[in-house]
């Protein structure tokens, strides 16, 4: 198959002349659809936000429209989907969408360059009835505005009625839905390929045949290699259509299985059920557009020392399920990354799922992400803990993990050993400092100096104490 088919602003489109790594934003703009802007080409500003319907429905039966960044979304990934851009957001009968009127009437635009992106994020908000301020800010965390100071945009968001983008359009029909369940194999005129298999066997065969192919989940990491470094993957092997990797389900024992290619957004509710702090920790990973498409599998795949998933998974004693030519195996999250950007995976291994065990009795999870900015920032330091305190006030169990303080996300075994069995007091929490400093070996970079990282990592143990046993106001969130 050498043609991509999708619905753009209500009209069917067929594309066969684009490179396999062509990003949606570049294609839209080349088509003359220039409402969608480029502000960064790295998923960080939201000026390129568009809405994507992948044929999934929500509990209330409405389409699951997602705000995504067109700048790092391969055009080929639109195959079988509906896409809406600012130009096509209205009902198709000349009436602007309420997000557009609300923004225009409430002084929510100044220079207007960010506005189409905000309009799309607002249109995504409008599809959901729940509308508390926190969720609004979550939904807007991936959109930057340099002019307005946001207040009028938030007001516009608060005023939105519940409505669909292009409400008069038909949903994806069966034919289009079918596309998404059959394998896509797009070969571009320049020979580049975008292949989205539907079974693990197909994937394994493709990987064996095409060793240079890029394994592509959400592309929120890989996409930047294309847009910023100018890299051209010979083949993109997309995990988008592998249902087997998209499942998110609770296990009988109260644990959780998250498919490696399930976007973060799909797992937040379940994380919240497992531990509220876990969901709020993951909600600070990227902005809405990133969480709508980025995956845990990709986060582990990068093996980044500052990736946010692993510290949490290590603290929770989660397992990483791998599939290789010799079958499935499971490694502990703590053992997954072995060194700077190195993992236990062989070249032909695939991350299949993350298994989070049920909470141990009496334990509590706490996750901290320290960055210059609250939303959509990469951690300078992250610290995650699972702690259980015995009736006699001593630490019955502690699992501690840090990110950003070593060449890899790290289980702080020295810290754990130091505290386990000791009385859980502010003094012991403070005394753990030297153990923490033994465990970690941070460097200085644009996000912080090594000294700061040391100070914070050690202080996070005390922060944990305040959160589990402290008195008075001990968290900014409480104010």
């Amino acid at each position: 198959m050498t043609e991509l088919q999708f619905t753009l602003n209500g009209s069917p489109r067929r594309v066969a002349d684009q490179p396999a790594h062509r990003m949606t934003l570049d294609w839209l703009r080349a088509q003359g659809l220039r409402a969608t802007k480029e502000g960064c080409a790295e998923g960080d500003c939201g000026a390129c936000t568009v809405l994507l319907d992948r044929g999934q429905t929500r509990a209330d039966g409405t389409p699951d429209w997602r705000a995504v960044c067109a700048c790092i979304l391969p055009l080929a990934q639109l195959d079988g989907c509906r896409v809406v851009t600012t130009e096509g957001l209205s009902d198709g009968q000349g009436q602007p969408h309420p997000a557009q009127t609300a923004m225009a009437e409430q002084f929510a635009t100044q220079c207007g360059y960010c506005s189409p992106g905000f309009v799309m994020s607002l249109a995504a908000i409008a599809t959901r009835p729940e509308r508390d301020d926190d969720s609004l800010m979550d939904a807007l965390a991936g959109n930057l505005c340099r002019c307005t100071g946001y207040r009028p945009i938030l007001d516009a968001a608060r005023s939105l009625p519940v409505t669909q983008p292009r409400p008069n359009d038909p949903a994806l029909d069966a034919g289009q839905q079918d596309r998404r369940t059959t394998r896509l194999d797009y070969t571009a005129p320049d020979g580049g390929r975008f292949v989205a298999p539907t079974t693990l066997d197909e994937l394994a065969a493709l990987r064996a045949a095409l060793p240079d192919a890029w394994l592509w989940a959400g592309g929120t990491d890989l996409g930047l290699k294309v847009t910023k470094d100018g890299a051209h993957p010979p083949t993109i092997l997309s995990l988008d259509r592998l249902d087997a990797l998209h499942e998110v389900r609770s296990t009988d024992d109260g644990g959780l299985v998250v498919g490696a290619a399930a976007p973060y957004a799909d797992m937040l509710d379940r994380l919240a059920a497992l531990a509220p702090d876990l969901a709020s920790y993951f909600r600070r990973l990227g902005g809405a557009q990133i969480r709508n498409i980025g995956t845990v599998g990709g986060n582990l795949g990068t093996a980044s020392p500052i990736g946010d998933s692993l510290p949490a998974l290590i603290a929770l004693d989660a397992g990483v399920e791998l599939i290789g030519p010799r079958g499935r195996r499971r490694v502990a999250a703590a053992d997954f990354v072995t060194g700077y950007r190195q993992t236990v995976m062989a070249a032909d291994d695939l991350i299949a799922a993350i298994r989070v065990p049920p909470p141990t009795p009496g334990s509590r999870f706490a996750g901290y992400k320290i960055a210059k900015r609250v939303d959509q920032d990469i951690s300078g330091v992250s610290g995650c803990f699972r702690i259980a305190v015995a009736d006699d006030g001593t630490v019955a169990e502690l699992r501690a993990a840090f990110g950003g303080v070593a060449p890899r996300p790290l289980r702080a075994t020295g810290t754990e050993a130091f505290l386990t069995g000791k009385p859980w007091t502010r003094e012991t929490a403070r005394a753990a400092r030297s153990a923490v400093l033994e465990d970690i070996s941070p460097i200085s970079d644009a996000r912080g100096t090594a000294d700061y990282r040391k100070a914070v990592a050690a202080n996070l143990v005390e922060r944990l104490w305040h959160d589990t046993a402290g008195q008075g106001v001990t968290r900014l969130e409480a104010l």
């Binding site: 635009t109 207007g112 360059y113 340099r146 207040r151 939303d375 700061y452």
Partner: protein, 787 residues
């Protein structure tokens, strides 16, 4: 509120002594909350930015080849591999510039492409033109630049230590601070620092140059200063100014970053277009934009201050060392404004302010909303904070004590007498409305009972001088055309970057004609219509262009009045313009009908207008004069909380009272206040430019450079415009400029953070907290403050 001095009536736009009250009022005149003229186009995608225009046939795209060295002699540029790539049209370097290789806005010596020496990592030394951007970018990587590294100077401290200056220091002096300092009962020496800030306009720098017949060139340039781009392109191409036309409809934000630095982008596009004879577009991608263009100047601010036991300042000796980067650019103006705002709202009986032009091998720092003023003001506020802490007093008390005051405490360090000073009453009003005293006590109680989270509260005044520091720049032109159907086209030198200058000036014109705003259309700024303009900067856009347009409209209206008098058979003095009509007694004629009648009567319906700001003068030798026509004022109270374990912080509440005179458009003005405040909050807290030891900027994209998001806005934000406060000076309908001053309201956030840090220790000294106050700096300051 009550104000001293006479209350001025808003300008009367009609010559008629006795105006018949019109039955209907036109919509969208001055003082109305009219939406931005492009608001609907912004949200439906209809608003076109330069990169959105369809490219002319044969258009080439440019990509930059930049220096990898912070300082190096260029010994050769090898373009063979790049030229061999399919689709590459040409590579331009210094030798390809037909005219004068200079893009300096103020002092000559800033080559468009350096012929010999690269001065910073990111310095463009060549550019590749190709059929599409992707090819150009790949080809740019294939260009080999050979060079011999030279010793760089990379940071401010190094530059100060070596006295590595671009220009001789400037000094503002009044009185004799030396003896006054030594005789003062108390004396403190201290300082603070503030880092660079990237503009981070959402639309990166862009230009499209399209060759015309003969030697002519049309340049669509994202610039705040079309005239300067016109001149520079003309000089680069060795053609007369008249051969170059520069046009800009709108920019996606600018904030000063597209004042002088747009010339580089436009200049490169024009040189490549002239060389190839084809249209050429250059749009910097985000990384290039941040790596190549300059930022807000970082400053090291040091003071020596003498004061009495109450905290009243007796003498100040202050050094303001600005990091200019590799070239002069607009630094003279920036330093001058830093010095002229290092008093902020406070009277210094004896004062010496010294400004240093530190040269570093980094991007050339440039204009940025406030133009040095914010940095100067920050020095004053940090110094006042230090004085108050040393005395164990609430800084608010010490601030009040030092405010400019009649009769004999009104002279600024540049010898301008402060007039119409509104800060004292504004502080009173805001202290009351923000419930400052009760909250101060409550926060102190909270801090006494909590040792992990500390809260802070601070009030900061802002007095900002309005006018370009250079008197000759304070002039503007406009062109108004009335068509025979009564519709009006408006053109002026102001460029639209989101600040709403188009709608405000259109409101002025609508008001003059007494017609609905919808009948007035602002058109793209172009050097072909209104020549020899000043940049849209220094908050002056509406002041200057509003007055020029007002004059143009008034000229036409007076011509129309005569015709209307004939038509209505009335005395010309009895004719008024309102409600889309000319009215005399009970007779009316529609504005469109009247325009048609004027045409029939062979009366011109087109006029230019011109304005120059009165009263201002400044002697650059002595640094004395009256550089500012008037002052804009603001006061803010902010409350924050910090986490003493991590240095994280959170804004809790901000109250703002801001003086915009009689607002031309309260909706637009409020937007400027909120947007400016949040931009200032970013500058002082999270926006941090970091260079490595080789001089490479590490923070060159939003992944590493963090501007505020929606969550960083104080949950409780209360903004009031000062009411019944027309400008005492005769500005457009007694309004005041609003573009820059609100940025500095964010000083209150920074001071509140210092207050929270102060609460971590026994007191007696100010928090050692520089800007930007990142969590790291806050934590360090907390640790330094602990007993």
């Amino acid at each position: 509120m009550t104000r001293r001095g006479p209350v001025f009536a808003p300008d009367d736009n009609a010559a008629a002594p006795a105006r018949a009250r019109p039955t209907a009022r036109h919509k969208g005149g001055v003082s109305e909350t009219a939406p931005h003229d492009s608001a609907l186009r912004h949200v439906d995608g209809g608003a076109k930015y330069i990169d959105d225009m369809s490219e002319p046939a044969g258009c080439l795209h440019l990509a930059l080849v930049t220096s990898e060295w912070a300082h190096a002699r260029i010994t050769g540029i090898d373009t063979a591999k790049a030229l061999a790539l399919d689709g590459v049209a040409t590579v331009i370097a210094a030798g390809d510039i037909p005219g004068e290789n200079d893009m300096a806005p103020v002092m000559p010596g800033e080559p468009l492409l350096p012929p010999e020496v690269a001065e910073y990592v990111g310095h463009p030394v060549a550019a590749v033109a190709a059929a599409d951007f992707e090819t150009a970018r790949q080809a740019a990587k294939l260009v080999e630049v050979h060079g011999e590294p030279l010793q760089p100077v990379l940071d401010l401290d190094d530059a100060i230590a070596r006295e590595h200056y671009l220009l001789a220091p400037i000094v503002f002096q009044r009185g004799d601070p030396g003896p006054a300092l030594s005789e003062a009962p108390r004396r403190l020496q201290g300082g603070t620092r503030v880092g660079c800030q990237d503009h981070f306009y959402l639309e990166t720098q862009v230009a499209l140059a399209v060759p015309q017949e003969d030697d002519e060139m049309v340049v669509y340039s994202g610039t705040q200063h079309p005239t300067e781009v016109q001149h520079i392109v003309a000089h680069l191409l060795a053609v007369p100014h008249a051969a170059v036309q520069v046009e800009v409809r709108r920019m996606g934000g600018a904030f000063g970053g597209k004042e002088s630095q747009a010339s580089l982008v436009a200049g490169l596009a024009a040189v490549a277009a002239a060389k190839t004879g084809r249209p050429v577009k250059l749009r910097l991608d985000r990384d290039s934009d941040m790596l190549v263009t300059g930022k807000r100047h970082a400053f090291k601010l040091d003071w020596d201050v003498g004061f009495d036991d109450d905290g009243r300042i007796l003498a100040v000796d202050m050094q303001l060392a600005g990091q200019c980067g590799w070239s002069v650019d607009l630094s003279p103006g920036v330093l001058s404004r830093a010095l002229s705002h290092a008093d902020n709202a406070y009277y210094y009986p004896h004062v010496r302010l010294t400004g240093l032009f530190c040269k570093t091998n980094t991007q050339s720092n440039t204009a940025f909303r406030g133009f040095g003023g914010p940095q100067g003001m920050l020095a004053a506020e940090a110094m006042l904070d230090a004085i108050a802490r040393s005395l164990g007093k609430d800084p608010l008390e010490v601030r009040r004590l030092n405010l400019y005051a009649a009769p004999d405490r009104l002279l600024t360090p540049y010898h301008q007498t402060v007039e119409h000073f509104r800060i004292p009453e504004m502080i009173d009003q805001l202290v009351a409305s923000s419930d400052y005293a009760r909250r101060r006590a409550e926060i102190d109680r909270f801090n006494a009972g909590n040792d992990v989270i500390k809260r802070g509260l601070a009030l900061a005044p802002v007095k900002f001088g309005i006018s370009f520091n250079k008197p000759e720049m304070n002039q503007a032109g406009a062109l108004v055309n009335v068509y025979t159907d009564g519709s009006v086209a408006l053109n002026h030198g102001g460029t639209e970057m989101g600040q709403g200058v188009f709608v405000k000036v259109a409101q002025v014109v609508a008001e003059v004609f007494g017609i609905d705003l919808t009948a007035v259309r602002a058109t793209a700024t172009t050097t072909a219509k209104v020549p020899n303009t000043s940049p849209t900067a220094a908050s002056s856009g509406s002041d200057l262009n509003g007055m020029a347009a007002k004059q143009a409209a008034e000229t036409i209206r007076e011509r129309m009045r005569a015709v209307a008098a004939e038509q209505l058979e009335a005395d010309a003095r009895a004719v008024t313009f309102a409600g889309n009509q000319a009215v005399a007694g009970n007779k009316t004629i529609g504005f469109g009908e009247l325009a048609q009648a004027c045409h029939q009567a062979r009366v011109s319906l087109s006029s230019t207008g011109y304005y120059r700001t009165p009263k201002i003068h400044f002697d650059r030798e002595t640094n004395r004069g009256r550089p500012f026509y008037y002052y804009a004022h603001g006061v803010a109270v902010s409350e924050v909380a910090i986490d003493t374990l991590t240095g994280e912080w959170k804004p809790l509440r901000t109250d703002i009272l801001h003086d915009v005179g009689s607002s031309l458009n309260p909706g637009v003005d409020r937007g400027q206040i909120e947007g400016g405040f949040i931009q200032g909050l970013g500058w002082l807290t999270m926006e941090e430019c970091v260079w490595d030891a080789e001089g490479r900027l590490l923070t060159h994209a939003p992944s590493t450079y963090k501007i505020p998001t929606a969550r960083d806005v104080p949950r409780d934000l209360r903004i009031e415009l000062l009411q019944n406060a027309p400008n005492e000076e005769a500005t457009a309908f007694r309004s005041k400029a609003v573009g820059e001053p609100p940025l500095m309201l964010a000083n209150s956030v920074w001071l509140a953070l210092r207050d929270a840090v102060h609460a971590c220790g026994p007191g007696g000294r100010a928090a050692a907290l520089d800007a930007p106050a990142t969590p790291e700096k806050i934590l360090r300051a907390v640790e330094a403050m602990r007993p």
